[in-house]
Amino acid sequence: MKLLSIAAAVALLATPAMAEKTSLSVLKLASSGPVFLAQDLGHFAAEGLEVELKFFAAAQPVAVAVVSGDAEFGVTGLTAGFYNLAGKGALKIIAGQSREQPGYKLSAYMVSNKAWEAGVRSPADFAGRSFGMTQVGSTFHYMVGLLAEKRGFDVAKMRLVPLQSIPNMVSALQGGQVDTAILPSTVAVPMADRNDAKIVGWAGDETPWQLGALFTSPKMIDTKRATVERFVRAYKKGVAAYDLAFQKKTDQAATDKALDILAKYTEQQKGAIAAGLPYIEPEARFSAKDIAKQVAYWQAQKQADASVDAKEIVVTTFVPSLD
């Protein structure tokens, strides 16, 4: 009994007396690793922040949660829906998250066995084929657009099939109901191992791009700028820890510990996590130019409103731009 109360008192002393409460909406994915590391290694606490993590199942709700005020910060992949929200002055990008980068096997170009037999054997062969994706305006939708641009075929001549969820994409690809798809490595590699479908390339090698970002609401920047600064500082320490553990890989103990932390937060097998770790720029920088390119692409596809201004969406005062 006495021991317990002493433990409680110590715990009280350990947290800074004036810890400010804030919240972050996030997905249970390895790409959110820096956030989990910052939380678990005490970087947020060191900045006097008590961060409540709010978990969601898809990128869209993560962004909506920040717009609706359910969370003060969000970190996730960039979609057309995100830009439409941001374009209405509801969201600002303040730091980078994952990037598709050569050598990082994050998103796989997949081909159904049926299509493989029919001769679809490389990303260039995606031209004119059906393509399974989660939703219109999703990151998968953007990546097939990037691929078409790079390989010089017309994405409008493909049949883009929205299937709402990754499990639906898996079964559609398995059943040969779509010829092609882009799937996260955590799903793609086991599928290829079971020979349910073929991997014909990786988006990082083919079309590197700024996949994810940390963002907040303009109101936060206006009214609680200090909080945002502290949050970004802690986030950058999380990114640095991620970089050390998974990209520099100079300290095996740190790598093991980081993997443990990621496994705890994402509730995934360590092996699966290690196989699908995305590249994250070591100083949490992002490419504003890439953001502008994404907005222009969505506008050309009529998926983003013409009024969205890419310059208004990014704030480079917390983290300097890559460009």
């Binding site: 209405k88 939703q135 305006g137 999703s138 299937l163 639906n168 079964s171 109901q177």
Partner: protein, 260 residues
């Protein structure tokens, strides 16, 4: 000392007041527009009626509206026709045949409350991601309410009418065609009303998977892209479709059930 009798009846009867209905509708739209125009609420949260009207007009002018409507109507009509024909036949069997009722009713009762949307992934495995799975989703959703409405409609046909027909030696098939079916028609038509609105609800679910066009696909895409004006424009379309269906069923009821 005579005095007039005090009147104490009246009240408790509602009468249709069409002007009040119209005014209430207009007032809601006007207040909504005023709140949106004044900028008190961000358009992200509350698109203005004018914005929704603009979205609808753009759709109509670009021709997208008709493509979406045509795609959805085709699915709804086909799914509804298949599902209600099967439901009618099955409901009739439940109502007329003891064995069919003993075997079928527990099954129908067990399957009816299942949200058909939950079966969508299974339908994709069975029917693929093309039209068949969408039509099947709607057909299955329509089947159960139709079967149950027909069955209870048949149950509500007065037994004395059947006895009467038998007493005149009317053959069984004619009893079904001339007594039971017309007698069950009120039940069947209320089944049509319910299942038609279910078909409208399910078209959104059915078009979640692999649909390029359709009102449901349009609404989902608008949601995915966080285009709330488009989203509500699509919802308006669905609600107009729902009103049209309700109107048609009422028309059918007035014509076919004039005898009531």
């Amino acid at each position: 000392m005579s005095e007039p009798l005090r009147f104490r009846g009246g009240g408790f009867v509602t009468r249709p007041k069409p002007i009040s209905s119209c005014l209430a509708g207009l007032a809601v739209v006007a207040i909504w527009q005023a709140v949106a125009s004044a900028g008190w609420v961000s358009p992200v949260f509350l698109p203005s009626p004018a914005g929704i009207a603009r979205a609808l007009a753009e759709m109509a002018l670009s021709g997208q509206l008709w493509r979406h409507l045509a795609a959805s109507l085709q699915r709804i009509l086909l799914g509804f026709a298949l599902g209600s024909a099967a439901g009618l036949a099955f409901g009739l069997a439940l109502g007329l045949l003891s064995h069919a009722r003993a075997a079928g009713l527990p099954i129908v009762s067990a399957l009816f409350p299942i949200p058909k949307i939950a079966l969508l992934p299974l339908f994709i495995l069975w029917f693929g991601i093309g039209e068949p799975s969408k039509v099947a989703t709607i057909a299955l959703g329509v089947f159960f309410p139709m079967a149950i409405a027909t069955y209870s409609g048949v149950d509500q046909v007065p037994r004395t009418l059947i006895r009467m027909a038998q007493s005149f030696d009317v053959p069984t098939h004619a009893v079904v065609a001339k007594v039971i079916l017309p007698g069950a028609l009120p039940g069947i038509l209320s089944g049509v009303r319910i299942s038609a609105s279910i078909a409208l609800i399910l078209v959104v679910a059915a078009e979640m998977i692999g649909a390029e066009f359709g009102v449901g696909a349009f609404i989902l895409t608008a949601g995915n892209l966080m285009r709330t004006e488009d989203l509500l424009a699509g919802v308006c379309l669905l609600s107009i479709l729902g009103l049209a269906v309700g109107f048609l069923v009422s028309l059918a009821e007035r014509r076919l059930l004039a005898w009531r």
